[in-house]
C-alpha cells in the first residue's frame, strides 16, 4: 500500500510578464475580460507528467537543480496547490516542514503561538496540551516561551516552528530543505527525529540539495529535471547520475564564463594594457608563470614533467622560488631540453588537431596587442591579457581523463593544452603556467626558464601541453594564468586568470594542497572499522 501516489501529475503556473503583469481592474473591466483574466492562460509547466509512488514507511529523497519542480511536487503532496492534470493521492496525516513558523504572529507569546500553530496543523487543543512540554523542550526555548515571538532570533523562530511541526505526529512528513535550522547540535537532533520517524514506519518525502543525506537516509531517490522525472531508484545510483549531469553543466558554464572574460579582454585591447597596474615588483620577475615545452617550430610536441625529466639536477624546479630571469644572455641554445622533448611526442596529435571539441574559440585572433607598456604586476593584476603579441597563445584547453573538461576530481590527471603561434622566428621565449585559488593565492607557478629549459627557437604554429599527473588540490574553484614571455619577463602574450576550473572531492579536507598521504597508528590506538 503506497502512502503517496502521483499519477501522471502536471502542474502549470501562470507565467508572469507580457501584458498580464500590468493587468488591473480597470483594464479587465474595460476589455470585459475579467473572467478570462482570472483563468491561467500562458503557462509554464513546473511539473510535467510525473508519476511516483512512495511506499508506506519509505523515505524518498527528491533531488534536482533549482527550478526543477521539487518544491512544487512537495506542495502538491501537501495539498497546498492542486495539480493542473493528473491525480495526487495521499493516505494519512501529512505534516509539511516547508516554511517553519509560517503563521506565527510576532506580537504574541511563543506559548500562544504553539497552540495556534498546532491547531492550524490539525491538532486539537488537548493534544497540544499533552505535547506542549515536549515541544518546548525540543525547541530548547524553556526560558523564552512566554516572550513575544518578535523578540526571537531567527534560529529560535525556526526551532519552534520545527518543534511544533514534528510533534504533530504525522503519518507522512514532507521536508523541504529545512535542516539548515539552528546550530550543529540542533541539526543533529532533527536528524535523530527523522530517524525516529523512520523507525516508527512513517513515510518521509525529503527535498534537499544535501545529497549525502539522501544517500545516507533515503530508501529511494527521485531526480527531477525541468519538471520531468529523470530517474528513480537506489539513492546512490541516482545521486551519482545526478552529480555527473551537474558536472557536465558546470563544465559548460565555466567555459562560457571564461569565454566571456576573454571576450572582454579582447575588446579592451588596443587600450594600453592594464595601465593601472602598480609599479610594484618589476614587470620582469615572476617566476611563477611559464613552463615547459619549447615546441620547436611546427607540429612536434614536447613534454617535460617538472618532477623528473630534463631539468638536470639543480634546485630551480623544486619550487625553489624566483630564481628569476636575469636580464639574461640571449643564448638561444637549449641543449638538453629538446631531445627529451622530442621523445615525449608519443600519442599526441600535432598541434592544431588538439583543439578540443569545446571550441570556445578565444577571440584572441590576430590583433596583436600594441603592448610595449610595462605589464602589470601579476600578483595584483585582475584578469586580462597583455603582451607584445610576437608569440601568441591562441587557444587554451583543459583536459581530464575523459577529454575536455572544466571539472576535475582531486587526484585526477589534468592537461593544459595551448595552441601557440609565432609570427616570426623567436629565439628568446619561455612558457609559464600558474594556478590561483579564487581568493588569489598562488597555488603553484612555474615556467620553462625556471626549470632550466633553454629556448632554441619557435616559428609558426605549435602546441604546448602542461601535463599534471595528479591534480592534488582540495575541492574548490581555481583560475589559471598561462603565458609566453621572454626569459627576462617581457610578455609576448600573457593570459591572466582567464581560465577557470573546478576541483571536486568527496573528502572534506581543507586548504589548497592535498599531499598523498596515509595514517599509521601503533597497536594501542584503535579506530572502529567502518560499517559496511
Amino acid at each position: 500500500m503506497s502512502a503517496i501516489a502521483l499519477d501522471r501529475v502536471s502542474k502549470a503556473y501562470r507565467r508572469y510578464g507580457g501584458r498580464r503583469r500590468f493587468a488591473t481592474l480597470k483594464s479587465a473591466l474595460l476589455t470585459g475580460s475579467l473572467v478570462r483574466h482570472l483563468r491561467p492562460d500562458e503557462s509554464f509547466r513546473a511539473l510535467d507528467d510525473v508519476s511516483l509512488t512512495v511506499a508506506r514507511g519509505a523515505a524518498c529523497g527528491v533531488i534536482g537543480r533549482n527550478g526543477s519542480g521539487k518544491s512544487t511536487l512537495l506542495k502538491l503532496v501537501a495539498g497546498i496547490t492542486r495539480p493542473t492534470g493528473g491525480e495526487v493521492r495521499v493516505d494519512g496525516r501529512v505534516s509539511a516542514l516547508i516554511e517553519l513558523g509560517a503563521g506565527f504572529h510576532p506580537e504574541i507569546s511563543g506559548r500562544e503561538n504553539v497552540f495556534i500553530n498546532g491547531v492550524m496543523l490539525g491538532l486539537s487543543r488537548r493534544e497540544i496540551d499533552r505535547r506542549f512540554d515536549e515541544i518546548v523542550d525540543f525547541a530548547e526555548l524553556e526560558d523564552f516561551i512566554d516572550a513575544p515571538v518578535k523578540t526571537y532570533s531567527s534560529g529560535m523562530y525556526m526551532r519552534l516552528g520545527f518543534a511544533v511541526a514534528v510533534h504533530v505526529d504525522p503519518d507522512i512528513l514532507l521536508v523541504d530543505e529545512v535542516l539548515a535550522v539552528g546550530d550543529e547540535g540542533f541539526s543533529l537532533k532533527c536528524l535523530d527525529k527523522f530517524a525516529e520517524f523512520k523507525r516508527r514506519g512513517k513515510t518521509i518525502l525529503l527535498v534537499t540539495h544535501a545529497l549525502s543525506m539522501v544517500e545516507r537516509f533515503c530508501d529511494e531517490a527521485v531526480w527531477l529535471d525541468a519538471g520531468r522525472k529523470r530517474l528513480v531508484g537506489d539513492p546512490r545510483r541516482v545521486v551519482q547520475m545526478y552529480l555527473a549531469d551537474v558536472e557536465g553543466a558546470e563544465d559548460a558554464h565555466l567555459a562560457a564564463e571564461d569565454a566571456r572574460a576573454q571576450q572582454g579582454t579582447a575588446a579592451a585591447r588596443g587600450a594600453p594594457p592594464a595601465a593601472a597596474a602598480p609599479p610594484g615588483p618589476a614587470p620582469a620577475e615572476d617566476p611563477r608563470v611559464a613552463e615547459t615545452s619549447p615546441s620547436t617550430g611546427a607540429p612536434s610536441v614536447a613534454e617535460t614533467s617538472a618532477g623528473d625529466g630534463p631539468p638536470p639536477s639543480e634546485p630551480a624546479s623544486g619550487g625553489a622560488p624566483p630564481a628569476v630571469a636575469q636580464p639574461s644572455t640571449e643564448t638561444p641554445l637549449a641543449p638538453e631540453a629538446s631531445p627529451a622533448a622530442e621523445a615525449a611526442g608519443d600519442d599526441e596529435t600535432p598541434a592544431d588537431a588538439a583543439a578540443p571539441p569545446g571550441d570556445d574559440e578565444t577571440p584572441a585572433d590576430a590583433a596583436a596587442p600594441p603592448g610595449d607598456e610595462p605589464p602589470p604586476d601579476m600578483f595584483k593584476a585582475g584578469e586580462g591579457r597583455w603582451g607584445s603579441g610576437t608569440v601568441r597563445i591562441e587557444h587554451v584547453a583543459l583536459e581530464g581523463p575523459q577529454g575536455a573538461a572544466r571539472v576535475f576530481h582531486s587526484g585526477e590527471p589534468m592537461t593544459i593544452r595551448m595552441r601557440v603561434v609565432a609570427d616570426r622566428p623567436v629565439a628568446d621565449f619561455a612558457f609559464g603556467v600558474s594556478i590561483f585559488s579564487t581568493d588569489g593565492v598562488c597555488c603553484y607557478g612555474t615556467n620553462t626558464h625556471i626549470e632550466e629549459l633553454e629556448p632554441k627557437g619557435i616559428d609558426g604554429a605549435g602546441e604546448v601541453a602542461f601535463v599534471i599527473d595528479r591534480l592534488d588540490l582540495v575541492a574548490g574553484t581555481y583560475k589559471l594564468d598561462v603565458a609566453v614571455h621572454k626569459r627576462d619577463g617581457f610578455s609576448y602574450d600573457y593570459h591572466r586568470l582567464l581560465y577557470t576550473f573546478r576541483v571536486k572531492s568527496t573528502a572534506r579536507d581543507v586548504g589548497i594542497y592535498r599531499p598523498r598521504h596515509a595514517w599509521r597508528f601503533s597497536g594501542n590506538i584503535r579506530f572502529k572499522t567502518p560499517e559496511p
Binding site: L38, K75, I80, T81, R82, A102, H105, I116, V119
Partner: protein
Amino acid sequence: MLANLLRLFRYRGLIRILVARELKARYRGSALGFLWSFVNPLLLLLVYSFVFTNIIDRGALAPLEPYAVFLFCGLLPWTWFSSSLNESAGVLIVNGDLIKKVVFPVEILPVVTVVSNLCHFVFGLPILLGFLAWHGIPLRPADLVWFPAVVAVQLCLTLGLAMVLAALTVHFRDVKDLLANGLTLWFFSSPILYELSAVPEGARAVMDLNPFAHLAVSYQEIFFHERPFAHGEGLLAVAAGGAGLFLLGYWFFDRLRDSFVEEV
C-alpha cells in the same frame, strides 16, 4: 461548494483561536491595551457629536435629540462594517505565507477578520447603553429581541462582501484604493448622520437599494426611537439579500481559491 461550506463550520475551533489571537495581538504593547476597544468608538463619537451639535447647524435634523445617541446607533455598526471590508481586502495578501506554505483553509481568513471586528462592535455596545442610561432613554425588551437578528443580517452581508473583496484584491490590487473611497461615499449616502426621512423623495429609491441604510435604520429603531420596531420589511429584504450575497461571495471565493497560491 456545499462540502466546503460545511468545512467552514468544522473549522470553528480554528476561527475561534485566530479571532482570539487577533484581539490579543491588536493592542499588545499599547498602554491602554484592551481598553482601546472602548476608547476608540467613544472618541469617534465625541468628535462627530461635537462637530454636529456645536459647529454645524443641523437645521432639519433638530428633532434628533439626543443627537449623540442617534449618531452612535449608526456609527458603531458602520465601524464594524467598514473596518471588516477594509481589512478583508488585504487579508489574503498579508497572510500570504500561510497560503503559500501551509495547508490552510484560506476562507477562514476573511471570516476571522469580520468576526474579530464584530467583537470590537460588541465591546462598544456598553458605551451605547451608557449613553442611553445617561439620557434616560428606556430600552424596550420587545425591540431588543430584534437586535440579534439585525446583527446576524449584518454579519451575513459583511461576510459575503468580505469574501468577494478578499478574493478580488489578490488579483487586482487596486481594489484597496477603490474600496477606501467607495466606503467614504457609502458612509455619507447612508442614514447615519441624518435620518432616513430627511432624504428627499427622489433619492429614496436609491436609498432603498442601500443595504446598510436598512441596517442603520434598524439599529436606530431599536435603540433611539421610542416607537416599537417598525422596519421589519426592510430588514427582511436585506436578510434575503445578505444570505444571497454570502452564498455568492463564497462561491466566488471558492472559484478563485486555487489561484491564490500563485497570485498572492
